[in-house]
Every structure is written in structure tokens, then in C-alpha cells.
């Protein structure tokens, strides 16, 4: 049993670290496929990457219901860390979550179980934060859409392997849809719902 005092720390400088992390995420969202770095460190709990921890401290609070995949939810220290540092309520029902944290991509539930927003309020959707193996090597993907000058190339090793096929629902649902933030250690790549991805094989 970990006591509060033994939990890994949050940001050393709450204000400036959150600002710097946000700018990385904002740049990632504005330029899909570009790899952004998250500089500020926050001692991440077990099963959570540095980037994910920094995003949690930057964007989560009592207004953002969280859904955790079973691998994360099974770690009492991780849940305690989130609760202590962000105050965000952890919910069982993924369809009301503002954010979903996924550490085991292989077990990603069908996307329609998350909030997709409504036609009137497409912003009321779940943002997936998906931890992946690598955003430097792996399969090559070609991305197009707003934020991209022509086409962008992403090399990534992602589970589930069919993530981008699944994200095709965004095409039919738009403006409803799911935005995804991929995290590998301190690197982030965002795939907002407007991005269209073509796999180019290995």
C-alpha cells in the first residue's frame, strides 16, 4: 500500500510545465503526424509513460471524467496518483469519459463505446490517449487533412494494428468523432478526427 507521500511527484513547476506541455499537445493537434516532445518531467506512476503523465497533469481536473483501460485500472498506485494530482473522477462507463487512457492498445474497446459527440455538440467526445511502442520506427503511414501541408509521413509502431482502419469512422461521422493522442515515452503525435490516414505498408 503506497501512502500519498510515497506517490511519484507531479510537476516541479505546475504553471510553466503545464504551459509547455500544452503547447506541445496543441502543436501536435494543429499539425497531425508531426512528432512533438514533452519536456517537463513528472514522476510517472508504473504503467504510465512520461508523456501521458504530463498530459494528465496539464489537461485533467474535476471536470473531466476519465476512463482507464483494465491494465491501468488494475494499478492502485496509478489510480491514486491520478486522483491525488488531478482530482479527475475515474468512471466505468466509457461513453461519458472526456479522456480515455489506454496502455494496452491490443485491448482497445470498439470506438463506438466512447463518446462521439452529437451533431449539435461534436466537442462532447472522448479524447483517446493511447500509449504506443514507438513514434520513430515501425510501419509508415501517410496522413492528409487540415493542419498538413499536402501529406505528412508518420513512422510508428502502434497497437491495435488496425487503429487507422478503425478511425475511418471519423470520416462518416464528421463533425462527430474521436480525437487520438499517441504517446511514446516523451513523444506525442495527434490524430484529430479530420485526419485521413493511408497505410503505406512497412
Amino acid at each position: 500500500m503506497t501512502t500519498i507521500a510515497e506517490l511519484p511527484p507531479g510537476f516541479a513547476d505546475k504553471v510553466l510545465s503545464a504551459q509547455s506541455t500544452f503547447r506541445s499537445v496543441m502543436d501536435a493537434m494543429a499539425r497531425p503526424g508531426s512528432v512533438q516532445r514533452i519536456v517537463p518531467g513528472a514522476g510517472p506512476p508504473d504503467r504510465m509513460m512520461r508523456g501521458t503523465a504530463a498530459i494528465a497533469l496539464t489537461l485533467f481536473d474535476h471536470d473531466t471524467p476519465l476512463w482507464l483501460d483494465s491494465r491501468m485500472a488494475e494499478s492502485p498506485d496509478l489510480v491514486k496518483w491520478l486522483k491525488f494530482h488531478t482530482g479527475a473522477p475515474v468512471v466505468q462507463d466509457s461513453s461519458i469519459a472526456s479522456f480515455a487512457l489506454i496502455s494496452d492498445g491490443g485491448a482497445l474497446p470498439p470506438l463506438e463505446r466512447f463518446a462521439l459527440g452529437t451533431s449539435e455538440y461534436p466537442d462532447r467526445s472522448t479524447t483517446l490517449i493511447l500509449q504506443v511502442d514507438s513514434l520513430r520506427s515501425g510501419r509508415t503511414f501517410e496522413l492528409r487533412g487540415p493542419g498538413i501541408d499536402g501529406a505528412a509521413t508518420l513512422q510508428a509502431s502502434i497497437k491495435p494494428f488496425d487503429l487507422f482502419e478503425r478511425l475511418r469512422v471519423n470520416e462518416a461521422l464528421f463533425p462527430r468523432g474521436i480525437d487520438v493522442v499517441l504517446v511514446a515515452d516523451d513523444a506525442v503525435v495527434a490524430i484529430p478526427r479530420t485526419t485521413r490516414v493511408v497505410s503505406k505498408g512497412s
Partner: protein
């Protein structure tokens, strides 16, 4: 104990988190107006409280801030907002468009082309382009949901029926990424083409109306028009009287009570850098002529 009087960039952290989440959604859904819990700011509505909140949420110590009001760095609104952030965030400020990383603007887009490392933050009074056509929020929200924008075309058509051309000169409606019709804020329609395929991120904040929206970089932004009445940017047919620019947006300045007037660039930084580079208009002020003379 001297605790700082304000948090960095004035807003508290919970407010910044809320605004930051709204900004991310706004970028993900280009042109859609994301509701946010706008705060009271130490300035009145109409003075850019929406833009100020967006700027406060994104600004970091390494940023260089430029603030313009109708293109000018030197007007009350621009100066007071620039000083506000110099004081509360300690950021460097500039008037040079090229040097800025964050540019907050009221009603203009700089003439100098923006680059990829910049964010343009617009102050927006009425974010809903359909508001004057349909006062009910429930109805305009439904119209956006269904992409039902016929009413806007009727409005532009009525312009043509009455005046012979589309008489809308500012806040000219645009369609973003072929989906949402968006109010570009009361910029002159001269500036509309600059929004299209722009390398910089464009964020819009409406404080009183509590909306944030965005245009990501390299996004298609089309001004609404008709095949037989295509969109045309409007500009006074004269060169700038100070820098002789033929392609900048001009302000008309009345110089006496006998009908004399001059046309000068509304973008002061653009005009000044052109004058410094040796361009002179018909009414260039004396010091610039002396400078030019000393070289020759």
C-alpha cells in the same frame, strides 16, 4: 512574504486547463464554435476579453507577443493588452510581425505573410455568423449540425438584389474545411484570402459570447459567393500615402475640414518597415525624406 499578485499570465490554472481543452477541440473540429466558461477579465467586454483569455492560456515565457488593433500596434487597445501580458507574464513584446510567436489581433490580419511557428489569436465580438439572420441559439446550432447554410446565401443574394453586388465588406462569412460556415471576426474581407492555407495556427476567442474556434494550419477557407458574383477582396484604389504600397489594406484619414484626406496602410508595422526600406509615398513625413537624402 511577497507572493506574486497574479498567476503567470493572470488566469488561474483551472481556467487555463478548461480553455486549453476547448482549444484542442476547436482545432480538431475546424470552424466549430466550442463553448467555454469565459471568465471576467480586468477589461470590459468588447475590448478583447476572448482573445486575451486564449492568449493567456497558450502564452509561455519564451513567447514574443505582438498585439494589433485594426492593424495598428499603437492604439489604446493594442497597447493596453500588450502591457497587460508584459506585466502579468513577463513576456517579450514586439511590433515586428516576423519576430512574433503569438499575435493577438482585433479586426486585421498582418500584411506580412505568417509562418509556421506563429499563432494568430483573434478577438471576436459575435462568433455566430448566422446570429443576425436567426436570433435563437437552438436554431443556429441545429443549422450548423445539419450544415444548413441556405439562409446565409439568401442574405448574400439580397445584397446583390439591392445593391448589385455583395455589399458585405467585413465579417464576410467563410466556409472552413468544406464544412462549417464561420465568422472570421470583423476583419475586412480584403483579409479573407489570407486565412486560406495559412501556415500559422489561427485561434478565435469570443469572451462575452463564450466561444472558442480555430482554423488549423494549411486548411481550406473559402469565402462564400456565387458563380456569377465571385468573391472579390475590396481595397481603396490608391497607393499608401506614406509607403506607396499598392497591395496593402488602407485606412482613409481625414486631414482637414475641407474634404482633404489621405490613404495609409492600416498595418503600421508593414508601412514602417517599407518606409525604412526606402519606399516613399506622396505624403511621406519629412524625417524620412531627410534620411533618404543623406544616402544619396
Amino acid at each position: 512574504m511577497n507572493a506574486p499578485a497574479y498567476n503567470f499570465a493572470y488566469l488561474d490554472e483551472q481556467t487555463k486547463r478548461m480553455i486549453r481543452r476547448a482549444i484542442l477541440k476547436a482545432i480538431a473540429i475546424p470552424g466549430y464554435q466550442v463553448p467555454f466558461a469565459s471568465r471576467e477579465m480586468p477589461m470590459p467586454y468588447g475590448w478583447g476579453t476572448g482573445g486575451v483569455q486564449v492568449t493567456a492560456a497558450i502564452l509561455g515565457p519564451a513567447d514574443v507577443l505582438k498585439v494589433i488593433d485594426q492593424g495598428s500596434d499603437d492604439t489604446t487597445n493594442a497597447i493596453s493588452i500588450r502591457k497587460f501580458f508584459a506585466k502579468t507574464a513577463g513576456v517579450a513584446t514586439t511590433t515586428a510581425t516576423d519576430d512574433a510567436t503569438v499575435i493577438q489581433t482585433r479586426h486585421r490580419i498582418p500584411e506580412t505573410a505568417l509562418h509556421a511557428n506563429q499563432v494568430l489569436v483573434y478577438q471576436v465580438p459575435i462568433p455566430e455568423p448566422l446570429r443576425f439572420l436567426e436570433p435563437r441559439e437552438t436554431e443556429t446550432r441545429r443549422m450548423h449540425a445539419l450544415a444548413e447554410y441556405g439562409l446565409m446565401h439568401v442574405k448574400l443574394y439580397e445584397d446583390i438584389a439591392r445593391f448589385g453586388h455583395i455589399a458585405t465588406a467585413y465579417a464576410y462569412p467563410v466556409k472552413v474545411n468544406a464544412r462549417y460556415v464561420m465568422d472570421p471576426s470583423p476583419t475586412p474581407k480584403f483579409d479573407n484570402p489570407k486565412m486560406d492555407d495559412c501556415p500559422a495556427l489561427q485561434l478565435f476567442g469570443a469572451g462575452r459570447e463564450k466561444r472558442i474556434y480555430a482554423i488549423p494550419p494549411y486548411t481550406k477557407v473559402v469565402s462564400l459567393d456565387f458563380e456569377d458574383h465571385p468573391f472579390e477582396p475590396y481595397r481603396f484604389n490608391a497607393p499608401c500615402a506614406l509607403c506607396a504600397a499598392e497591395n496593402s489594406y488602407l485606412d482613409e484619414i481625414v486631414t482637414d475640414d475641407k474634404g482633404s484626406r489621405m490613404f495609409v496602410c492600416s498595418d503600421t508595422d508593414y508601412c514602417e518597415s517599407r518606409q525604412a526600406a526606402g519606399h516613399h509615398g506622396s505624403l511621406s513625413a519629412a524625417p524620412y525624406k531627410e534620411k533618404a537624402g543623406s544616402h544619396g
